[in-house]
């Protein structure tokens, strides 16, 4: 009996070892496919960057075929569809990628952007809101949510998330700029100007940011600062009528009617309705 038990134990040990050895094999096969697919994604990106779009597209499709559950292969394919202006296909791929990697905020943001482009604003909002709720400490997701709210004209709703995003990602220019814009539209010019100041310092500002910063500074009576921002805005975007109109208003407030007149004339030449533009940054939502 003892010998029989020992024999059973020996055979059991061998069978157990075989089972333990074989258990990881399916996962390892999947891993290998994912690694191969990742390589193809990298190759597709490289080809796309070097202008070989058709070949890159084929390789992106091959990456999806190699590992159908690789979210980043689907994402890569979606980017190629977007480049080909096939938004519907891109949304399909991004939806699946998002489903495969629901924790990835970047994928959620990209899906939301694609949905927005297609005019599916409600779904875009839902996707980004879910991403922001799933990772409440992710400043990037919150910033994307704020951008959507601002674009939809919901400044009051955008204000609190904008504050949190700016706190979570204090060095993210978009987070500070969004906070500035939300504050400006909610009548909190002081907070808006602080946020714009930080946003301008964090990287190369765009004209819209500078125009809004100039408006906030103007409202607070910071005339010199307002003129400085408006001048920077017209330097960056000399064809932007709104920037010229803002400069005109700032110069006028700073006691330079001649300069204001010149700027206004430039704005009027660029856009006939320039007279009302200087008020736009402070006015009702577009």
């Amino acid at each position: 009996m003892r010998r029989f038990v020992l024999r059973v134990l020996l055979v059991g040990a061998v069978l157990g070892a075989a089972a333990c050895c074989a258990a990881p094999l399916p996962d390892l096969q999947r891993e290998r496919e994912m690694a191969r697919s990742d390589q193809q994604v990298a190759q597709a990106q490289h080809l796309a960057n070097s202008g070989q779009a058709t070949k890159a597209f084929d390789i992106a499709k091959a990456a999806v075929a190699t590992a159908p559950r690789n979210p980043y292969a689907h994402r890569e394919l979606a980017m190629h569809f977007i480049a080909r202006n096939d938004i519907e296909e891109a949304i399909g791929e991004l939806r699946y990628a998002h489903q495969l990697a629901p924790d990835d905020t970047t994928l959620a943001i990209e899906l939301s952007q694609a949905l927005d482009t297609k005019g599916l604003a409600e779904e875009a909002s839902r996707v980004i809101r879910e991403a922001a709720e799933a990772s409440p400490s992710n400043g990037l997701a919150l910033t994307a949510l704020v951008a959507r709210e601002i674009r939809a004209g919901r400044y009051e709703q955008a204000l609190e998330p904008a504050r949190r995003a700016a706190k979570l990602a204090p060095r993210l220019q978009a987070a500070q700029a969004n906070l500035g814009l939300a504050c400006l539209r909610c009548g909190k010019a002081g907070e808006a100007l602080e946020a714009f100041r930080l946003a301008v310092r964090l990287g190369a500002p765009d004209a819209v940011m500078l125009v809004c910063a100039a408006a906030a500074a103007g409202r607070l009576g910071e005339r010199e600062e307002s003129v400085r921002y408006a001048e920077q805005a017209v330097q960056i975007a000399p064809e932007d009528a709104e920037a010229w109109a803002t400069l005109s208003a700032a110069l006028n407030a700073a006691g330079d009617p001649a300069g204001a007149q010149r700027a206004f004339a430039r704005a009027a030449a660029l856009h006939p309705a320039a007279a009302s533009m200087s008020q736009r940054a402070e006015g009702p939502p577009p």
Binding site: R2, R3, L6, R7, L9, L10, V11, G12, A13, V14, G16, A17, A18, C20, C21, A23, P24, D27, L28, E31, A35, D38, V41, A42, P71, Y72, A101, D104, T106, L107, P170, R171, L172, Q173, R201, L202, G203, A204
Partner: protein, 584 residues
């Protein structure tokens, strides 16, 4: 007539002895089955060593393989027990030869690791103890914040007073402690194993085994070395006391043993399991004592352990430590024992071996380890059962205070400091196995010597990634200090975001705690550095992250998004820290 009757009786007795021996002796089939089972299980382990990451999702399957090995080796031993031969006195080298040999083996492989500098928690501990003005201050500061380890804090404080921020002194202390521990393993082994040759092999194996690279080379692991020294010294004094004839001498030795245990407890809480080991030793060891004496001795150790727990509760306010949820698989049995066996028999840093020589080198390492394991299982038949139970019991009991051990120890040999004290028994086991191989000089010499040599070489090799990691730590700290120094004077509260820096490069934890302290030390000003550590993946650490040292001044935010398998480097905020503009 009487003579013929007696002759017939003798004949019957001889016949019945032969029958009994035949019944007890294993058949050829059993022997073949047992050998084949062990070979197949070892082949499966060897195969899995190529692809199954002991840290990854297949950890359970890798550990279960060692359970299969234990079962197969145990069944083989039980089946072939009738064939075991009594152990010969065998090889008995002189202590005058063995002691210097073990000391050299414990020191020499680590000599070129003495210059690796500080890593990870070292910065934090050093920063804390340097705030202390006296030894009492050092005790109050508790540099190991989650724990109560006053003796370790005191040794760090003394080190800070003696050699300041020069890392060499701290590393020297660790290497010397390791040499002392290896000698203690030899000294206790000499009394437990009954063979000086086996004890010498155990000491040598403990000295050069690669699983001990982390505790020896990482200065912050000094508590593990101190606790091991205290625990082993306590055991040795107890062994001497048990064999002592004079009652006064015995009482003095027992009191010294208690003192050594108390010091071990004050160095690190992993020594808490020693009373269990003492109980096991008294039950299974060579020199037996009466039940009453045994209860008194174990009671003494238990009182000391309870005293430490009470003191810890009073000082910290809670029990402290890491709060790791206990599950069936991460408790001491069976996972901790199996992990110990895995890292002891197969201490393979696969990433590093693959990087160094590719698959052929890994294959050579796996083959060497498989041969060593096979030889060990073969000779297991000659090891007395009592001692086997003692080794297994010691490994299990000593793993009890380190619940996280089973999940923490990895194939990259990170966190193996937790195995330093428990694997002492495995060193004894393999020393014993070597002696049980027949005891004849010719059989004892080659295989363990080759295995020891291989382990020693591996130890030396393992030092290299640690040096690389330390170099990387220094580069990152220097680079970060350089770019942070571009900020205007008087500007404080700058938060530096370095996301997803590697925490583990070939087994060396680089950044966890202490990054801010290291920066502050370099900058001579407070800097708050936030970062999120990343896990090392199969594609390695992106060069962009490693190239942090070459960042231009003003680039202060680096992000590596590992999760999506794409590398993305964010370099926002140039304007904020550029030397031209500064922070307004």
């Amino acid at each position: 007539m009487r003579g013929s009757k007696a002759g017939a009786a003798r004949g019957r007795r001889r016949h019945s002895d032969r029958t009994a021996r035949a019944a007890a002796a294993p058949g050829r089939l059993d022997r073949r089955l047992a050998d084949a089972a062990v070979v197949l299980v070892l082949a499966a382990i060897g195969l899995c060593s190529f692809f199954a990451d002991p840290t990854g999702p297949y950890r359970w399957s890798y550990q279960a393989l060692f359970l299969c090995l234990l079962v197969a080796a145990g069944a083989r031993r039980a089946l072939l027990a009738g064939q075991a031969t009594a152990m010969q006195p065998g090889w008995a080298p002189s202590s005058a030869l063995v002691i210097p040999a073990i000391a050299c083996a414990a020191v020499l492989p680590f000599v070129h690791g003495l210059t690796i500098g500080f890593l990870s928690d070292d910065f934090w501990i050093l920063g804390r103890v340097r705030e202390a003005h006296s030894a009492l201050d050092a005790l109050a500061l508790r540099p190991y914040a989650l724990f109560f380890r006053p003796l370790s804090g005191l040794v760090w404080w003394a080190g800070a007073r003696a050699w300041g921020a020069a890392p060499l002194g701290y590393h020297l202390v660790n290497v010397m402690l390791h040499a002392a521990n290896s000698l203690l393993v030899y000294a206790i082994g000499g009394r437990l194993l009954g063979s000086r040759g086996a004890a010498a092999l155990a000491g040598l194996l403990f000295a050069v085994h690669p699983v001990h690279v982390e505790p020896v080379l990482w200065a912050a692991c000094q508590p593990d070395l101190l606790a091991t020294a205290g625990s082993l010294l306590s055991l040795l004094l107890l062994e001497v006391a048990l064999s002592s004839g004079s009652p006064w001498l015995r009482a003095g030795l027992v009191a010294s043993s208690f003192l050594a245990f108390a010091l071990a407890l004050l160095a690190k809480e992993s020594a808490l399991a020693l009373p269990g080991v003492v109980a096991l030793r008294l039950a299974l060891g060579p020199a037996r004592v009466g039940r009453r004496t045994a209860v008194c001795l174990v009671g003494g150790y238990l009182v000391l352990a309870a005293g430490l727990l009470a003191l810890r509760l009073a000082v910290i306010g809670t029990m402290g430590g890491y709060h790791v949820p206990l599950t069936l698989w991460n408790t001491a049995f069976p996972s901790a024992l199996l992990t110990q066996l895995a890292v002891f028999l197969y201490p393979l840093n696969r990433d590093f071996l693959m990087g160094l020589g590719g698959r052929p080198l890994l294959a050579v390492a796996v083959a060497a380890m498989t041969a060593f394991s096979l030889w060990s299982v073969w000779n297991l038949v000659g090891v007395p059962a009592r001692r086997l139970w003692f080794y297994l019991g010691y490994s299990l009991i000593m793993s009890a205070p380190i619940w996280t051990f089973a999940t923490a120890v990895s194939g990259t040999l990170a966190d193996t400091r937790l195995a330093y004290l428990p694997t002492v028994a495995l060193a004894w086991l393999f020393g014993d196995v070597a002696a049980a191989g027949g005891g004849r000089r010719s059989r004892l010499g080659f295989q363990p010597a080759a295995a020891l040599l291989a382990a020693g070489v591996l130890t030396v090799v393992y030092v290299l990634p640690w040096r690389e990691a330390a170099g990387l730590a220094d580069q990152v700290v220097t680079a970060t200090a350089r770019l942070t120094s571009t900020l205007p004077a008087g500007e404080h509260g700058i938060v530096l975001f370095i996301r997803d820096l590697p925490d583990n490069v070939d087994g060396a934890p680089v950044f966890r705690h202490g990054f801010s302290e290291a920066l502050a030390e370099r900058m001579r000003a407070p800097v708050e550095a936030n970062y999120v550590a990343a896990k090392r993946g199969d594609e390695g650490v992106p060069s962009e992250v490693l190239a942090l040292s070459s960042l231009l001044p003003g680039e202060y935010e680096v992000a590596w998004r590992y999760k999506d398998r794409r590398t993305e480097v964010l370099r926002a905020g140039q304007a904020a820290v550029s030397p031209e503009k500064g922070v307004p």
